[in-house]
Amino acid sequence: MASASAGSAAGSSLRRSRPRYGEAVIKGLLLAAALVSVATTVGIVASLLPPALRFFGEVGFGEFFGGTEWTPLFKPPSYGVLPLITATLTTTALAISVAVPIGLAAATYLSEYATPRTRKVLKPVLEVLAGIPTVVYGFFALTFFTPLLRDLWPGSGEGPEIFNGLSAGLIMGVMIVPTVASLSEDAMSAVPQSLRQGAYALGSTRRLVSIRVVLPAALSGIVAAIVLAISRAVGETMIVAIAAGLKPEFTLNPLQAMQTMTGYIAAAGEGDLPVASFDYTTIFAVGLLLFVLTFAMNFLSIRLVRKYREVYE
């Protein structure tokens, strides 16, 4: 055993017994893989910017952000993005009005009321809701929900058109429920048990603990969930492309057909616009606007989540 005894062991005994170039190569490869996602972001910017710059070289910001008509393929064309923005706003507002109450209620129930067994049953339901492809939601909105709305529309009024923002927005809201629910539940579960126990010790009921203790303590996480939900609603494409229509209208009336930013990109991208054409650049101009908006919201949401993690973890 152990031939190396004091003094006789040369100073080199703890040197590397054989070279290990492999370790460094592997670390390099792994880093390279990690850089693919950085390259993705760079690629997104690189694909958006040049055509968008070409677009803004010809169409001023004033016309783009101030114009109320979006008819890039007409003669003469008009490049006011406001109709796409009002449509996005309308559908997003509808979606949030569905997703936030239902999602928060679900999160509160799962975090504060449900037994482990009910959680085990209910959480997969929300996961299934999140796993259904959006094209299916779109199909459901157009062929089931819109006709239902039109049949049930009270009074003698017009009711929703065949394509309308109302149906698309509401169904999109259901799609986003799992996003709100799961992120909010994470935030609520992160609230330390000691806070709840303090309130219960003072005679609070479960409802008061939920509303006055847990909800405020989890607020930044819940806001993060809502911001992310807005970002998802703004970026959702298939539901609005199918159910909201293809007509860019400067309106906030959800009963009308409307075209969102994503809806325009999908419709224009579907047609094979020549690369050299100016029309082609409109996809990228709207795309850049969409990217900047969602990027800012995601960033805000990540910051908010970090904030509550810092406080409680």
């Binding site: 290990r20 370790e23 592997i26 670390k27 792994l30 893989a33 990690a34 850089l35 693919v36 996602s37 950085v38 993705t40 972001t41 690629g43 997104i44 690189a46 958006l48 239902i102 209620a105 679900a106 509160t108 129930y109 009321y113 209910l122 339901v125 929300l126 809701l129 796993g131 492809p133 959006t134 094209v135 299916v136 199909f139 459901f140 157009l142 089931f144 259901v174 429920v177 479960r206 409802r207 992310l228 970002s231 494409t237 298939m238 492309a241 199918i242 994503t262 990109i265 999908a266 991208g269 579907e270 996809i283 795309g287 969409l290 990217f291 969602t294 990027f295 995601n298 960033f299 990540i302």
Partner: protein
């Protein structure tokens, strides 16, 4: 002794408590919200199944799409295309995603700005709308790399789209392997990579597999980016190579939904049932893997 009616009065000396109407009401509202979500799911599923029932027959997977004859139309090219796209997407995103996860969990020093940037960037990418990936695929992969509107372009684009999901799932699986295993291995004179390859990864495989399947099921249902990448055209043949044109089920469903005729909507429903069935099968496998190989640390 407290009598039952006294319970509803305010001054109650016993511990029985007074009736608080807001409590059950609040709980009822929370439950009603969840019930609404469950109801929605039930209605949606029964609607597509009943709508598509008449066309859930072999025509659907034996025939090709037809714009003129809904009674003869099928979705074979879309089903085959979906399988191709998913296989290729998995082949691209799994190695890159797992390698990234290993780098971030086992090698990256979190105090370095570039490692923090890589992490933040992945979180941000997870929230980028899928249609923006379509623009990336169009601008950089289809046009920039000149791969055209092919199966390869679609798979590469979807790989980038689900990469953050794979990375996040793989990181969780790797993190779940106890540190004591790593220490034991390193204390025996194993190198970091030996430790990862021989101990950490084998132990993390079930978790990684579960995450990968869930990520791929997201890719299967994805249609928006492919709208920009040429999947729209009406394809009446199966792809035979990675540079072929293609279509996939969600796109085929989209196309049929756009047709005004009710027959095409029936077809779309039938195709949705097939798509949901594939997703259900994949998720069942994921759950099975998770339960079967769960580690008892």
């Amino acid at each position: 002794m407290t009598t039952a009616p006294a319970r509803h009065r305010t001054e109650n000396p016993s511990l029985a408590g007074r009736f608080r109407p807001l409590e059950p009401l609040f709980k009822g509202m929370l439950l009603a919200s969840l019930a609404l979500a469950v109801l929605f799911l039930v209605v949606l599923l029964s609607y597509v199944v009943t709508e598509g029932w008449d066309r859930l027959d072999p025509r659907l997977w034996e025939n090709f799409p037809s714009k003129l004859y809904p009674e003869r139309a099928g979705a074979q090219s879309a089903i085959v295309g979906t399988i191709y796209v998913i296989a290729l997407t998995g082949a691209f995103c799994v190695p890159i995603g797992v390698m990234t996860a290993i780098y971030l969990e086992e090698y990256a020093d979190g105090s370095r700005w570039w490692n923090r940037m890589i992490e933040l960037n992945i979180q941000n990418l997870a929230g980028v709308p899928s249609i923006v990936y379509g623009i990336l695929g169009l601008g950089v992969i289809a046009r920039g790399l000149d791969l055209g509107r092919t199966l390869l372009t679609a798979s590469l684009t979807l790989s980038l789209l689900v990469l953050p999901v794979v990375i996040i799932a793989a990181r969780e699986a790797i993190r779940a392997v106890p540190g004591s295993i790593r220490q034991a291995s390193l204390a025996l004179g194993a190198t970091p990579w030996q430790t990862i390859a021989r101990q950490v990864l084998p132990a993390a495989v079930p978790g990684i597999a579960t995450g990968v399947i869930l990520a791929l099921s997201r890719a299967i249902g994805e249609a928006a980016p492919l709208l920009l990448l040429g999947a729209v055209t009406h394809i009446t043949f199966n792809p035979s190579g990675i540079t072929d044109s293609y279509t996939v089920l969600p796109i085929q469903i989209f196309n049929w939904t756009k047709q005004p005729e009710a027959e095409f909507h029936t077809l779309a429903s039938a195709a949705i049932v097939i798509l949901l069935f594939i997703l259900l099968a994949m998720n069942s496998v994921a759950i099975w893997v998770r339960n079967r190989y769960q580690k008892r640390w």
